[in-house]
């Protein structure tokens, strides 16, 4: 389908510069030693998509195996219980630590955040490259743990199981530790960048909301990640040397590990979802061609979600043996999360009101997000409510809930952002038709996969189960079918995105009519981002007709 620019800022006025960040220097070495945030972003993108592929393969394997209670396909057993436990553990570790936490910050944000605030680079380019190489090291460590003896602890590494089971637990845990430092470096970089490198004229409340979202994310990355670092070190020390902190036989306490773990891992959920929300805050005004509704409310909501995320970890532990007073307090605090999340939803909806809404691929993802994230958020209510959580926790209901938030929220927003900034990053337009087909397949496949799991969970199917009662078989089967549709959607996406790279650069500077600064430079951008230092002269997301002086 021929791409038509529908409205917005004028495009194509300037000739495409011959040199851009992609061809300014050439050779593999120029990429490996680059300090350019755009190139690091592209390398991160390749990395996290590889991780997504690996994690996705484990997910498909797990789903395929669960299709029948006997794990038989064509008369053959796909996996035994031990292999199954390893498969879901690796799916979790790869998806959480290697994909979803670094996905948006490492790739898209690295690329567009400096452009959006009119900076030439991030504050600490070398630290940025170090973050990428730490990510690579984490990947190598995680993969080598598979060779040394796959881990079967679940991605949560709960003690005492993780300190007693066989397998290369220390290697896997240290991989997560290294990845944590990669994440800290990224977050630290963004905070310093946002504080000090904004374009002249850009005050805090003139920043695009994407920047607010990523700033909030970075705060969590910097403040929460050290705690998981020390926790995993303690777990490894416990396993290797028997220091006894988490071992009841030596006077320690296994539940202490869970407190430490969730003190990080709950905020980590917001490291995952806030960037997703940040992308939606860009897509909504651009494709509605209308200024964002409630700019300040969304900005404050991002920051308050970041703060609240630190005080709700105990809601993962309502039946873990913490005190009942703690249960009541954490339940009450957890409801605080609902308010800023709701505020954002209402603001995005109102942005469409009286807008001029078109349905290009990124907007299809944004609309999918509205529905899937609504389900993810609303199913959080019975989980925060004490009386109903007792029954639902540790079942497939929780599995479905966090996949709706993580995948229906973050991954769908990530895909929206990827399609939104693809022309800027590569200078090429992808096939809009195939983009829409794939977006619809992802939406349908995703919902089929995980809606069924809410019912499985509320009917009493615990999570991490290899064998299940025959009565659950039909729902498991539909879920597996859904995973295939999802895989087909991703396969098509990979095909048309890669195909777009084979043609010459054809993307205009501003294909969607966006108002933020990244659209002011060429596609793809030149090595130093802007010919001239851009200066912000009016509020963000201004879609009023321009009055030319």
């Amino acid at each position: 389908m021929e791409h038509v620019v529908k409205s917005g800022a004028p495009v194509g006025e300037r000739p495409r510069p011959a040199k851009n960040y992609l061809n300014e220097t050439t050779g593999i070495w120029s990429w490996m030693t680059t300090l350019d945030h755009k190139r690091i972003g592209i390398m991160y993108l390749c990395g996290v998509l590889t991780a997504f592929f690996i994690g996705g393969m484990f997910a498909l394997l797990v789903r395929l195996s669960l299709m029948t209670p006997k794990h038989m396909i064509f008369g053959k057993v796909i996996m035994d219980a031990e292999q199954y436990n390893r498969a879901f553990t690796l799916h979790g570790i790869v998806m959480v630590f290697l994909f979803i936490i670094p996905a948006i910050p490492g790739s898209l944000t690295n690329f567009v955040l400096p452009l959006m605030i009119g900076a030439k680079d991030v504050a600490f380019p070398r630290l940025n490259l170090a973050s990428f190489y730490l990510w690579c090291l984490g990947l190598v460590m995680a993969l080598s743990s598979i060779a040394m003896g796959p881990v079967d602890t679940g991605w949560t590494f709960y003690t005492p199981y993780s300190t007693t089971t066989s397998g290369a637990v220390p290697m896997a845990a240290m991989a997560a530790f290294v990845l944590g430092f990669s994440s800290i470096f990224t977050g630290l970089n963004f905070i310093a960048t946002v504080h000090k490198l904004r374009a002249p004229g850009m005050g805090w409340f003139d920043m695009p909301l994407f920047v607010w979202g990523m700033y909030s994310t970075a705060v969590i990355q910097v403040l929460a990640t050290p705690v998981i670092g020390i926790t995993l070190v303690l777990m490894v020390l416990e396993r290797v040397f028997g220091i006894g902190i988490f071992d009841a036989r030596m006077g320690g306490d296994p539940v202490l590990f869970q407190h430490f773990f969730w003190f990080y891992s709950h905020p980590a959920v917001y490291i995952m979802i806030l960037p997703g929300m940040a992308i939606i805050s860009e897509l909504m005004p651009t494709f509605s061609r209308k200024t964002i509704f409630g700019y300040r409310a969304i900005a404050y909501a991002s920051v308050s979600l970041a703060l609240v995320s630190f005080i709700v970890w105990g809601h993962h532990m309502f039946v873990a043996g913490q005190s009942q007073v703690a249960n009541v307090v954490f339940s009450a605090l957890t409801f605080l999360v609902a308010i800023p999340s709701g505020v954002k939803m209402f603001n995005w909806l109102t942005t469409m009101y009286k807008g001029n809404v078109s349905f290009e691929t990124p907007m299809l993802y944004a609309l999918s997000f509205m529905i899937t994230f609504a389900i993810g958020g609303l199913t959080g209510i019975p989980l925060a409510t004490l009386a109903t959580d007792i029954h639902l926790t540790d079942t497939y209901f929780v599995v479905a809930h966090f996949h709706y938030v993580m995948m229906g929220g973050t991954v769908i927003a990530f895909l929206g952002g990827l399609h939104y900034w693809w022309p800027k990053m590569t200078g090429r337009m992808y096939s809009e038709t195939w983009g829409r087909v794939s977006a619809v397949l992802v939406f349908v496949g995703f919902n089929l996969t995980f809606l069924t799991q809410f019912i499985l969970g509320s009917r009493g199917m615990p999570r991490r189960y290899y064998n299940y009662l025959d009565q659950f078989q039909p729902l498991h089967m539909y879920s597996t079918f859904g995973s295939w549709i999802l895989a087909l959607g991703f396969f098509i996406m990979a095909a048309y995105l890669l195909a777009s790279l084979r043609k010459p650069a054809d993307a205009p500077d501003n294909p969607w009519g966006g108002t933020t600064m990244e659209w002011q430079t060429s596609s793809p951008p030149i090595a130093h981002n802007f010919d001239e230092q851009p200066v912000l002269e009016h509020e963000p997301y201004d879609y009023r007709p321009k009055v030319t002086a």
């Binding site: 339940s331 469409m352 529905i371 019975p382 409510t385 009386a387 615990p462």
Partner: protein, 320 residues
């Protein structure tokens, strides 16, 4: 109200289950309404304001009144939901004083239940209908979780700690007990069957000391023999503190090689160690005291079930 969610929940096995289901159904209806609102608004706005070339959009930056309303309303709703949930939870949290206390020991990958009278079962839980059952649980290895879907209760079992949970089963028949905290290879096979029965059936169940013994007399498992059952009683019932198995003298005579022997008693007579003598020694230990030992053994009248005595006899017989 529970009609709304009946299709997605297991059968209700207790009052607490019903109460939890009412809250769940209420939340379900509420969430469905909110979800319908969000979807309708999304679809309506997207369609009503679909792209038209040349349409100029208004510059609406915010509306303080509107934003205050949609911040306050959800907050109020959340407060209500929290208290409803808290109210339901308080009933789950504290076991009533008149409950029957059952000790649960979880280990990879089985459940062991011990009743107040010492009766034990493995993976087989019996409860009288309509009576409060209070479970005091601990683990011998890793984390487990006591989950009874029909009762809507769940509680982690932690090594080195005792955790508690209770419910009042109101529906007779069988229910599933399952492990909900990942514990390794056999996690998904760690089931027990809960049988809720009337008082008479439950009393009969206790009379035989539970059901664990049946395995030892059925001959299905070559490691579970009556002798092994007797060995287990020697450990559990405290015999081991006075009777050794290696022929050395302790507070009481060793059991090794005692079967079929003529024992000299402290009144000068002798007695043949056979089944009748062993039974008598357990029920009336002071009747015949072996020469050289103090009359310190307590009676086990009422503490040993018939199958346990049979096991001990078989065990002593095997110690040649």
């Amino acid at each position: 109200m529970t009609w709304a969610t009946k299709w997605m929940l297991p059968a209700e096995g207790s009052d607490y289950a019903h109460q939890s289901d009412v809250i769940y159904a209420g939340l379900f209806i509420l969430c469905m309404l909110m979800f319908a609102g969000i979807v309708l608004a999304t679809v309506y706005f997207a369609w009503r304001y679909r792209f038209k070339a040349g349409r100029v959009t208004p510059h609406q930056t915010h509306d303080t009144q509107l934003e205050i309303i949609w911040s306050i309303l959800p907050t109020a709703l959340c407060v209500v939901i929290f208290f409803v949930g808290l109210n339901g939870y308080l009933k789950y949290a504290v076991a009533p004083g008149n409950s029957m206390e059952i000790q649960v020991t979880a280990k990879q990958w089985l459940w062991q239940f011990e009743y107040p009278d010492g009766s034990r079962t493995i993976n087989d839980l019996h409860l009288p209908v309509g009576k409060n059952a209070h479970f005091v649980m601990t683990s011998e290895d890793v984390l487990h979780d006591f989950f009874v879907p029909d009762m809507r209760v769940k509680m982690d079992i932690v090594p080195g700690r005792y955790t508690e949970v209770w419910f009042n089963p109101t529906v007779m028949g069988t229910h599933v007990v399952t492990c909900a905290e990942y514990c390794g290879k056999g996690h998904s096979d760690m089931h027990a069957v809960l049988t809720v029965e009337n008082d008479a059936d439950f009393a009969k169940f206790l009379e035989t000391g539970g059901t664990e013994w049946e395995d030892y007399f059925s001959g299905k498992d070559p490691t579970k023999t009556p002798e092994a059952w007797g060995h287990l009683q020697w450990e559990r019932k405290g015999c081991s503190s006075c009777h050794n198995l290696d022929g050395t003298r302790s507070k009481g005579p060793s059991w090794k090689g005692i079967w079929g022997k003529m024992e000299k008693l402290n009144n000068g007579t002798t007695v043949l160690v056979d089944e009748a003598y062993i039974r008598e020694s357990e029920m009336q230990p002071q009747a015949k005291i072996v020469d050289g030992f103090e009359p310190i053994m307590p009676t086990f009248q009422g503490l040993l079930k018939e199958n346990e005595i049979r096991g001990i006899v078989a065990f002593i017989k095997s110690l040649q």
